[in-house]
Point group: C2
Chain length 253, copies 2
């Protein structure tokens, strides 16, 4: 690290700040990168996040790192102990279910309101997002062996975009932000299942589930749409829970 000072310089491999973007401060950049890396599982759950380590890894000084960690703490991605620093939020089935059920509460309400207020743009956004998701899902499925990291992360982005599109017109900043936050929390549990060779539920047709949610939403059948959405999330969490139990059993050898 040179003696250069202040304010985010685009580091190698990052997009430079376009108009409309606003990284601006190092603390903001540190927050985004830590957020991304924690969700992606770069740091193991429960792992202490030593400041010296983060300083080396990211090149930021204490202050911006500390601010980032404080914000992440408020989002439950990291936990902090009084004079013992920060660590990655640990995994547990209880936490996963709490995050899942809270997410269901929030997103079902947001979906209900979107179904009530949604206009043509809303419908078009859902159809577009579903189509993009479906394309990428077929692409990944068509790949013979292991799908590449790029293919999987593109799939994830489109998956998130689809669920975002469903609730886009709920007219509540808080519900939208909560949905984003709870998505990040649950995503941490979901990713290891996708990359690792966990046993997927063969009886499950995820694209079909998505299509049914979309159809119910576009037809303005709120009760059906929210029921399908909740079932969709619960199925995933049940699968994750099984995988967690299997992994613990394997680790106990």
């Amino acid at each position: 690290m040179s003696g250069r000072r202040n304010v985010a310089q685009p580091m190698a491999g990052e997009t430079p700040p376009r108009a409309g973007d606003e990284p601006a401060t190092l603390a903001e950049t540190a927050y985004r990168r830590l957020h991304r890396d924690i969700v992606a599982g770069v740091f193991a759950p429960g792992q202490p996040l030593r400041l010296e380590l983060l300083k080396q890894r990211y090149g930021f000084s204490f202050s911006p790192l500390r601010e980032a960690l404080n914000r992440l703490q408020a989002e439950r991605l990291v936990v902090a102990a009084a004079l013992r620093g920060f660590s990655v939020a640990p995994f547990s089935a209880e936490e996963m279910w709490d995050a899942t059920e809270t997410r269901i509460l929030v997103e079902c309400e947001a979906l209900r309101r979107s179904i009530e207020h949604g206009d043509d743009d809303w419908e078009a956004g859902i159809v577009a997002a579903f189509h993009a998701l479906d394309l990428q899902a077929r692409r990944v499925k068509a790949i013979a062996g292991e799908p590449g990291d790029d293919d999987l992360s593109a799939l994830e982005v489109r998956h998130q975009d689809f669920h975002r599109a469903l609730i886009a017109k709920c007219r509540s900043r808080r519900l939208l932000d909560l949905a984003e936050q709870l998505y990040a929390e649950t995503q941490r549990y979901r990713l290891p299942m996708l990359t690792g060779r966990a046993f997927a539920d063969e009886a499950r047709d995820v694209p079909l589930e998505h299509r049914q949610i979309m159809d119910a939403a576009l037809a303005r059948r709120a009760d059906e749409a929210t029921a399908l959405l909740a079932a969709h999330y619960r199925r995933t969490s049940t699968l994750i829970e099984r995988n967690m139990a299997a992994q613990e059993a394997a680790a106990a050898d």
Copy 2:
């Protein structure tokens, strides 16, 4: 401020750290005091929170203040602009209603689950909290002229305790924390109405509303209890909205 260093020293008028408490760091103390003062309306909505000012007012240095402000930002009590620092979250009827409706969503679900899981301790907690609230409410009402600040803040504490008791057994850390956070947000709007001589709704019997919520909860009538709770919050918000409009009209003279 002398040259003394580090770690919360109990300042004049504060309780020293008892066992079980854990202020521990200056950042934590700064967070609590800023939180309290913002909710109490010590700083006007929208007011910029200059670090130099806060440093003088609280005696902390930049670092702990900054950490506190970052956490408060995540809770929507302060807003931050890229290189322009922090300010108190501004007031608006839209924000108040969003906070209110989100709070209703969260607390009604938490109440429903508490009604399902609640044991004898839960019932006893509600009855005790209601009684304490009722006592203080009568006390305040019996005072001839202006009730003192102590009486009002004691009333507020007991009011919060009552609502906390209702949802105590929901078995979700996230719902409990969200309820706390949304309570703080809505409280900012409510307090000016209590202290100022805003026109109260004469037709309203708040203690009765509380009693009805309690009775429905204890009788495990979930639908009725949640409906009463939601109506309770909406009535308050409607009143606040009227007062906000009245104040704006008065300011436009």
